[in-house]
Amino acid sequence: MTSTLRSSLVLRWMLAALGVILALAVVQELARPETTDLVSSGTAESTLRRAVPILLAGLGGIWAERAGVVNIGLEGMMVLGTWFGAWGALEFGPWWGLVIGIAGGAAGGLLHAVATVTFGVDHIISGVAVNIIAPALTRFLSREFFVDRPGGGLTQSPRVESVGSLDVPFLAGGDLFGWTTPDIFHWIEDRSWFLASDVAAVLGGVTRSVSWATLLALALVPASVFILWRTAFGLRVRSSGEHPVAANSLGVSVVRMKFTAVVVSGGLAGFGGAFIAIEQTGIYRENQVQGRGFIGLATVIFGNWQPVGAFLGSLLFGFADALQLRDRTAVHALLLLVGVALAAQAVRAVLQKRNRPAFLLAAASVAVLWWYAVTEEVVSELPPVTPHVATLLVLVFAAGRLRPPAAIGLPYRRGQE
């Protein structure tokens, strides 16, 4: 029973992904020759790479908030991750860089845990304090450790190596025991078959030269789901975030659970930061986190405090990011898709006799399609803030469907009633 349920779930996800690729492919055909980059292996590869830090920050947010601790210090913990990641990679190699970056973020998490859990400081205030301390500390450390190195300086490190990547054998032409396997996805992509080639392009993009760190980060999604929802420890963590007094009365050490979860949260954010420095840019640069910790926080809400939801959110935001960098006209073509999707939702609302939403959706759809028709290009400042706008829209229009942990942000003292 459960196995058929699960396989039907997997099937539904695959169908949904196929639907997204189909929609993008149709838009690409309609908008040709304006853009050819909406569905391509390059865009898929770039989307995944840009989604990973956001995903890790989002998972970090979920871990802390599931235990009832709001963590807006994710941004600062990511900053620590970038610096310590780069430093570790310089000193001991890229893998150690990731480990040390995680440790740096976890140290930020520990600070947040001590302030909020031990001393009962307001979670927002402590998070702000972490965000103030982290950049000050990294600037100081750069002066001490990077300035005297070739290529290093007050605001950046020397270049660092990445951990290396994988081409999946057969699918994306990777090597197997010294033999270069055929690149099936690439072969299909080159045939220019509608949809089939598009699917192959996307799959090729995410299976060709995938960083090992990316695979590790992706594995953390099911791992988080498993730990938080399928183990006794996870149940204790979540119950500390839902009803700490009840949890404590059943013998759960709420304080220890919160501590652990916040430190894990910082470690995940640190991993995200280290990923930016080591895998994405190959260098530590000041301000390179650029609010991704906050975007990660957005995916927590966007994904309704579920790891899979945060993953989807990070893909969406990563896609917006990737398109913006690769091909500005593709962003413009995307307006067409958004307009049509809004229209479809409007029709659905009409069928369900929900008049007000139907009217709003229809109006929004007309506005977006009109925007598409009268402009040549989307304002370059817009795509980077799509995560922020999307999060506000979700909170405004779908807040009823969100379910945050019940005791989120509340102070807890051992023995309170």
């Binding site: 304090a129 926080l297 400042e381």
Partner: protein, 369 residues
């Protein structure tokens, strides 16, 4: 009783500052430089008249930022969006000031009004979302920050740009002399000597002082201020006694945003006379730090603003003399913030415990009778 309260109230900030200096000294020792030398250099450079002028200017902006944040904090309303509000307000106010020609005082008044209106409106969005849709203001203001900064980039690039400028520095057109705020070096110089090195003390300092006084009056002498404080201490009791929570939230957000709108003006009206890429950012977040250290109290925030302003103004000497990295001052500030909030929390617990003991003793003494 009152003496104990005073000692406890002072113990926290002083203790936090001492702890932070100690920790920063340890950091300096760890990297092999002499903390004593660094602090002495900062003290001797920091007590020059010119450094005090710098401190005054920096503190003016930090104080306005601190008050903007504190208005919300007093009722546990976290306006994290001061950053976006003040940058957007400064840009639009500078553009408006350059677009019109008015008699001197009126011109400045218009620029200030535009800045306050923009800051207020942008903060009001978060207030409205909280009241009407239940969106937590921390999330909405974080998201609105990014949106505001994107708007600033777009507006400066496309609509408000000074077309006559040929340099690469994107800027709005210059504000004519009637829309500038005079410096007040004269006031200081009557008590001391002439201020050298071309330093000017911005007249906007006086506006900041007025804002502080108004903040104090608002909190302690008005119904709205009382509602705000009551909501901060116990929202349920406040509501039960007739405070309208929605109106209080929206009012606090609008006020906070209005003060936030002023943050950029000392610089624009007193020095730059335009908005350009060199405009000081980050004051919104610094304001959070200042408000936290100053316990959201009009006087406390002023002390914190002057302290942080002085640290910022005295730090550059470390680049010139000795081998202490000046970033140690940023670390010091960060540690002050965190240790201060922890210290306040600890003191709070001690006080509550003492009060509970006093109350128990009082009722225990009466019980047998």
């Amino acid at each position: 009783m009152n003496l104990r309260r005073l000692v406890l109230a002072l113990a926290a900030p002083v203790g936090a500052f001492a702890f932070s200096v100690g920790l920063s000294s340890l950091v300096l020792l760890a990297v092999g430089t002499s903390p004593m030398e660094a602090w002495t250099e900062m003290l001797s450079y920091g007590t020059r008249l010119e450094t005090f002028v710098e401190t005054g200017n920096r503190a003016t902006q930090l104080y306005l930022a601190g008050v903007a944040v504190a208005i919300g904090f007093r009722m546990n309303l976290f306006n994290i969006g001061v950053e976006g509000q003040y940058v957007l307000a400064a840009l639009l106010a500078a553009a408006a000031g350059a677009a019109v020609d008015l008699p001197p005082v009126l011109h400045v008044a218009l620029i200030m009004a535009v800045a306050m209106a923009v800051g207020s409106a942008f903060a009001g969005v978060a207030g409205y979302l909280k009241v009407a849709r239940g969106v937590h203001e921390v999330i909405s203001t974080i998201m609105l920050n990014a949106i505001a900064l994107a708007m600033v980039g777009f507006l400066l690039r496309s609509w408000l740009l000074d077309e006559t400028d040929t340099t690469l520095n994107m800027k709005t057109p210059e504000i004519p002399p009637s829309g500038r705020f005079p410096q007040i070096n004269g006031i200081v110089e009557t008590f001391t000597r002439e201020i050298g090195r071309g330093r000017e003390l911005w007249g906007f300092l006086l506006v900041a002082i007025v804002v502080g006084v108004l903040f104090h009056v608002f909190l302690n002498r008005t119904r709205a201020g009382y509602d705000l404080r009551a909501t901060g201490i116990n929202p349920f009791a406040a509501e039960a006694s007739g405070v309208d929570p929605s109106a209080t939230v929206v009012r606090a957000m609008l006020l906070s945003g209005a003060v936030a709108g002023l943050i950029g003006l000392p610089e624009i009206l007193g020095d730059a006379h335009k908005y350009d890429l060199g405009f000081t950012r980050g004051l919104g977040f610094a304001g959070i730090a200042v408000a936290l250290v100053g316990r959201n109290h009009p006087g406390g925030v002023a002390v914190a603003a002057v302290l942080f302003g002085w640290l910022d103004s005295a730090a550059p000497i470390l680049d010139v003399v000795g081998d202490t990295p000046r970033e140690i001052v940023s670390i010091l500030q960060g540690v002050v913030v965190l240790s201060a909030v922890v210290a306040y929390e600890v003191v709070n617990r001690i006080r509550r415990a003492a009060e509970a003991r006093d109350a128990a003793a009082a009722s225990g003494a009466r019980a047998p009778a």
